[in-house]
Symmetry: C2
Amino acid sequence: MCSPEIAKVVSERIAREGRPQLSRRNLLKAGSASALGLAFASFAAPARRAAAQGEAGFEVIDLSHVFGPDMPVYTLGEEPTRETYLSVEENGYFIQYWTFYEHVGTHCDFPAHFIADGETVDNFGAGQLVSRAVVINIAAKAAENADAMLEVADIEAWEAEHGEIPTGAVVFMNSGWASRWPNEDFRNADAEGGQHYPGFSGEAVTWLLENRGINGIGVDTLSLDPGNSATFDAHYAVCGNGIYGVENTANLDALEGADNAIVIIGIPRWEGSGGGPTRVLALVGA
Amino acid sequence: MCSPEIAKVVSERIAREGRPQLSRRNLLKAGSASALGLAFASFAAPARRAAAQGEAGFEVIDLSHVFGPDMPVYTLGEEPTRETYLSVEENGYFIQYWTFYEHVGTHCDFPAHFIADGETVDNFGAGQLVSRAVVINIAAKAAENADAMLEVADIEAWEAEHGEIPTGAVVFMNSGWASRWPNEDFRNADAEGGQHYPGFSGEAVTWLLENRGINGIGVDTLSLDPGNSATFDAHYAVCGNGIYGVENTANLDALEGADNAIVIIGIPRWEGSGGGPTRVLALVGA
């Protein structure tokens, strides 16, 4: 049966029987993650901590912006497009048609983005897509200087307060930039078109790789590097060392300071890609 | 700084310094999920079970096929396209350009796919995207009859052996069909173009909604309904009741029978969508 025939069948069914009524379930009953009765053990704490959490469950935090044509993008003209291809009213069901360039919206950079023989999204190990999450806040200095970088000193200050970053973590920079999304001051271009927002220093990424064995980094801005970078040190440190970087994350305030957080990089297995649109979710122990 | 300028900078840097060497990290050290030291408590078991699992960690199972132009699709002609837009060699970094219709590959159907005022992907509660996972195997009858359905009797037989399906689960049909991907017998069209593969019966979905408060269903075939359906009962039961359905899942054999499994629906927040490409990952307690 081909598509027009299917659409005809569905349309005739709707004309005959009407559309089904929405009978919303009790979301409190079935829909919240905390109803799942799952618990996380702390990475560093003794095993009894898991017992104390018991059936307490966890919370899901969405670190993703909506992906659509009106998003701020690194390179103007690379905005995605969407249009209605089939609709419930005319065809019985709804499908949109999309076009996009890979590195826009909440998305992830993989090695092949900067390295010709680097690993692609479709072949990257799924085990590395689920990681401990750490958030380092540099909003105070970013408010003073849009070109600020997350430096080794910021990592050391974070560890002095919170303890050592665990092996295999994703380390996020929270520069406070997500509150500007999707306005023009998110991209924050000057009169010459140069962009100004915070990012990681290459040294900080290299330090995290060598000393903490990170799985990846994440930023709440358009680029792993600060917007005014001409050398892309953070991109090279990430892609050249077989890890990944997440850009345009949302809602890091909610994740900051949470115990037992893990982050899931929900990127479809885009064939041959150096990156692409991603759902980034965090699970936080209750 | 605009894109051509950036590309020039990157190209010049590569010409001057050469590309960075890949210095692969020790994946055993940092890359495997089991190194994360996280543990899941069993849904039904007492809290001490979590303590017993202690720092044992969990395994990540990828339930997703590669997303690309050569995938089998429900409606011929709706295959996605990809092309190289920028390359490392010529531009300093690599970006592909994609086009796609939403409902192909490993993807998820949300209410708006069949219901004009149904919830869209971008606004669907993130808490429902992380769920307990249950796999019901109907491969034996599917091998006899490609039009077989997962029926209420199959659910009852599963529960007789494994116990009651927990509230808020995603229930997957494992029909053995994933081993046919991406060959023609996955779509399995007859001489008239009619498709033949298994799916859920509408009654089974309704039973799971009313009696087990499920978050969603999943199939290893092209459609929630069997390929020969003319009435789309499973689609209406899913979309009409505010839950979701996952299509073209892979690797359910690895998930089947696993204790403490949860599934994560990693779908980018496609604006206004009734569904779209998705990374489906499962976490299985060690």
